[in-house]
Symmetry: C2
Subunit: 306 residues, 2 copies
């Protein structure tokens, strides 16, 4: 099971009743955060997930509304007595940006590992059970889209274990993914497991022009969290000028990528009533839902929900 919560839904600036867009994913107590604008730590406090177990922070791009909350959040994580390394993933220049922001917070008591994405590749970054994929978006500066996957091993296959002549006492270890080496023989977990089962996939896109390739990147996501700067399609031209997406743009990606559910977010401060455009969006992609601050959902593995 993967818990997700949208920490905010605003674009450009934090509003009193709408914090900046950010998403937190929690897997067995370990957390991954995407984006961290000013006040992200405040909405996280309301959610009560804690700070200490944030292992990974993914930054889409270096505009203030996606990154200015980092020094305050890192101080909070430090105050929560974290000592384990923390990984920050982001565009080229990440270390320079974060270290520059940390000028007033020199006393962080854990190490930060920086992963700067020069160009997105197919191989995921694997940390704390999360498999992290990036894709290149198109904004005014380098900007990354993210897919977070939780992989799922196959079921234990007794017949296969017997066929492969695995000593019974190691069945449990192998089932848990361990490798057992006995003199000349190496037993691997795939020797007792059936074929890999469908995992959980969450995809996050903001701020970008609509790109056809995003359908493929998002394909099969259990949840797509994606930008809807404007609901009103008459503002499409303005969205394109500033390299952002409308509700319909995100709906097209959701539909084309055959995702299960879409949450819209990164609303313009001028979009005071997103509800007005929901019906139109649902005509394009039925399972469109409006994001709101601290909207939560537990995404289950396929059999879990049965």
């Amino acid at each position: 099971m993967l818990d997700v919560a949208l920490l905010g839904t605003s674009g450009m600036m934090p509003l009193p009743d709408r914090y900046l867009t950010a998403l937190i994913c929690r897997l067995k107590g370990k957390m991954l955060l995407i984006d961290c604008g000013e006040s992200t730590q405040v909405t996280l406090k309301i959610l009560k997930y804690g700070f200490k177990n944030i292992d990974i922070i993914c930054i889409t791009h270096f505009h203030g509304d996606h990154v200015l909350g980092l020094p305050g959040l890192l101080l909070m994580i430090s105050n929560s007595n974290r000592t384990d390394d923390l990984t920050i993933i982001g565009p080229i220049g990440l270390r320079k940006v974060v270290e520059s922001l940390l000028i007033v917070a020199p006393e962080i008591n854990f190490k930060i590992n920086y992963i700067e994405i020069k160009e997105s590749v197919e191989k995921p970054i694997k940390i704390s059970g999360f498999s992290i994929y990036t894709t290149d978006l198109e904004h005014k500066l380098q900007c990354l889209g993210y897919s977070i996957e939780v992989e799922r091993k196959g079921k234990f296959d007794k017949a296969k274990a017997i066929k492969n002549d695995i000593p019974k006492k190691y069945w449990g270890n192998l089932q848990n993914g361990e490798e057992i080496v006995l003199e000349d023989i190496t037993y691997k977990s795939d020797m007792v497991l059936g074929k890999k089962r469908k995992g959980i996939k969450v995809t996050y896109f903001t701020d970008t022009l609509y790109l056809e390739k995003l359908k493929e990147f998002a394909r099969g996501s259990d949840l797509l969290v994606s930008e809807g700067l404007y609901g009103d399609e008459s503002k499409k031209e303005k969205a394109v000028e500033y390299k952002h997406m409308t509700f319909l743009d995100s709906c097209k990606i959701a539909k084309g990528g055959d995702v299960k559910e879409l949450w819209l977010t990164h609303y313009s401060p001028s979009l005071t009533n997103p509800e007005e455009y929901l019906e139109m969006a649902q005509e394009e992609f039925k399972n469109t839902n409006l994001g709101y601050d601290r909207k939560e959902k537990s995404l289950l593995f396929e059999e879990e929900g049965e």
Copy 2:
């Protein structure tokens, strides 16, 4: 008349219902802000004072909770189409700190003038009608206390104007502070005005050890906004260790400095119920009031209130 509003009352971290300590002063539409932690722009939005006319920002010291809101606020001011210079006053290293934080906000469309206070002097900095005095506090790093004074000219003195042989048509100009030069004669405003009247004074202290000299610096303030990290005097030792003040410390300054009113602020997140300690504080200094987010007051010149 000077309007003041306490934007937040929290110390160390912004809380969902208690923003970080900062004070805004508004004089004839022009604004001066003291301190700018993360989310200061959000509480300012609730107050609806606008952003464009913030002419001066005074920073007490370079701990995150007093300065991390600066890049976001400067972006907001820039978005409000300000083109006039803005002045930031603070400890040594100010320019370096602010420019470092602005790494993700390069597009500010006004000039910032930096005034770094090496050591406090008696002469005020005068901008937009505010006379700004600083004093050196004692914290873990250089920290400044501020007094903001609004000076007040004397009343128009008709007998004096006649005695000084001022042509009647210039009385108005001179009363408004202008200087009139006519061939060999220079007419100055003090030739038509009575003696200078008492102005308005607001003093702001956080984060500091209790210092006797602060009574003198605060003397006669209409309002003292001062730190009360703890209400419970059993935490005095802890306050001293981290170089902070308790409720009683600020009350002693208020009493010794003969100020009119004290607002306590910069509460520890552990201080969930400041009311508990109010009565004790009022025994030390009667006109002690608890600060709360967006507590506002209009301070009047002496005759204005009569």
